[in-house]
Structures are given as C-alpha cells and as structure tokens.
C-alpha cells in the first residue's frame, strides 16, 4: 500500500476509514512485537482511539500510516514497561538456573549431552531465504517469557540502543543485559533444535 502525495499533503482522513485502511497492518505490526492476538487487538484499539483524539495535531508531514504506527509503537512500549514491572524477578538467579542445562560446574559446555552449540553448516545463511525458517523463528520468539521477549524485541526489531530501552522500560542496564542474554540463550537453542536440528552434528 503506497501513499500518494495527495494523502501526505492533506490533514488526517476520515477516522471512519482508519480501521479498513490500516487496521490489519497495525494488527500485524502489533502481533509481531507482542506475539499475543488479544493484546495486539487492544493495542490497535488504544492506538486508534488516541489517534482520534490527537488528529488535530497530525500535520500531514508523514504518511498517515507512519503516524499511526508511531502511536502504536508508543503503546507497545507502554505495554512492555507494564510487563517488565509486573513481576519483579531476580533475573540473575533465573539466568543461572537456566544456564545449568548448558554448562557444568566448571563452566564448560555440556557438549556430551548435546547442549553445546552445534555446527549449523556453511549454508546457515540460506535459511534466511526460506519462509519456513521465519515461521520457526516466530515460533521460537513466542516461546520466550513475555518480559524478556519485550526487551529483546525492542533491541533487535526496533533496533533501540540499551540506554533507550532502560529509559523506556525503567530497567537498569544490568537488568537489560541479563534479559538480552537470557533471550539469546533460549532463542539460539530453540532455533538449533527446531530448524538446524536435522543438520546439526554432534561434537
């Protein structure tokens, strides 16, 4: 859906048409970040309501879709912040518990148990050409606990730096790096088992 110059030049269009024009796009965007259909629906609703109230301020500088997406991104961050603060947990403790599956007492990989990083083969990059790979990635992302998924999403999908993430979600830098580490440990392993699994050779 491209935006014509006519659309960018004028003020916000009739809000009655927003759901039809942008509803599904906003929904897809929200789902890709929060991975939960009902939360995504809520966020889209909040976005359109907020946009309705703010439409006088839409100066037409960007496209309408970008403007709405911008509002949605703020709503998503609010959601992540809420999730991050809801259950105060000791991430470091949880991290160490999760790492036990991968490392022995001396901090070595449990390679004999098949928990060490496998060889993904030279054509790992060819995975990026395959639609099924991204389905597998999506599946793995949805397995992440909501709190760390939010941080990981802001970092890797929105490409925000850690300082911004700390401010947006009111987290300390230590929190953020522990959560990113947890997310990566789990995601990497999930992909290894669910995508590269067949090709992985035991070390």
């Amino acid at each position: 859906m491209t935006n014509t110059t006519a659309e960018t030049a004028r003020t916000a269009s009739n809000p009655e048409t927003w759901i039809d024009r942008y509803g599904d796009y906003l929904f897809r965007f929200a789902i890709s970040r929060v991975r939960n259909g009902s939360v995504a629906e809520e966020l889209v609703q909040d976005t359109l309501v907020a946009a309705l109230q703010a439409r006088e301020r839409f100066a037409g500088k960007s496209s309408e879709r970008s403007w709405l997406t911008g509002i949605l991104k703020h709503k998503i961050i609010d959601h992540f912040r809420k999730m991050a603060r809801e259950q105060p947990v000791d991430d470091v403790q949880i991290l160490n518990a999760e790492l036990e599956a991968f490392f022995d007492q001396d901090g070595h990989w449990r390679a004999d148990a098949g928990m060490g990083p496998a060889d993904w083969g030279v054509d790992a990059s060819s995975a990026l050409q395959q639609k099924e790979f991204f389905s597998a990635l999506q599946q793995c992302l949805s397995k992440l606990p909501a709190r760390i998924a939010g941080v990981f999403t802001l970092r890797e999908l929105e490409e925000q730096d850690t300082e911004t993430i700390c401010k947006s979600l009111s987290l300390s830098p230590t929190n953020v790096w522990v959560m990113l580490h947890r997310a990566r440990v789990q995601l990497r392993r999930c992909l290894e088992v669910n995508w590269f699994g067949q090709k992985a050779k035991k070390t």
Binding site: I19, L128, L157, R184
Partner: protein, 92 residues
C-alpha cells in the same frame, strides 16, 4: 603448544562467562582486557566461537524478519469482533 593452551584455559573466562561477554559485546565495546580474554578463549574453544557467530546470525535473522513483517501480505487480520469493538470505541 599444550602449555600455551593450558595457560589460555587457566587465564581466560570459562565458557559460561565467555557467552555472557559475547552477548554483552552485541551491544557494547568490551573493555580491552575483557575483549582480549574473550578472543583468546575463542581461539581454543570452537564451541564459544560458534556461539558468537550464531548470535550474529540471530541478529541478521531478526533484521530480515523485521523487514519481512512489513512487506508481507500475511494472513493476520483483525477479527470481526475486534473491528466492531474498535468501531464502538471510536464512536463513544
């Protein structure tokens, strides 16, 4: 040669520590000593070397994924119920 490897093993982080550094390095420049320690560790540890490469692959995959999401004419759509709810909210 063995003596060198033993020295490296004794004086560089464990794999468990190395992967923490590797993850940290995805956001920040490691302090010089840490950077050297990680490098040395990966010199003798193929598994950790793989781990870091896989983290980089993961980042690349996420970037592609992000672009895909915006482009694709995917199946995900707002449900009929959601649409009615939103319409009502906009009219209230």
């Amino acid at each position: 040669m063995n003596a060198l490897i033993n020295w490296i093993a004794k004086n560089t982080p464990s794999c468990k520590e190395a992967v923490k550094l590797a993850s940290y390095s995805m956001e920040h420049r490691l302090p010089l000593t840490r950077a050297i320690q990680l490098r040395l560790h990966m010199l003798i540890c193929d598994l950790c070397k793989r781990y870091l490469l896989q983290l980089r692959f993961l980042r690349l995959a996420m970037r592609r994924y992000s672009r895909q999401l915006e482009d694709q004419a995917s199946a995900a759509t707002l449900s009929v119920e959601a649409r009615s709810r939103i319409e009502r909210a906009l009219h209230s």
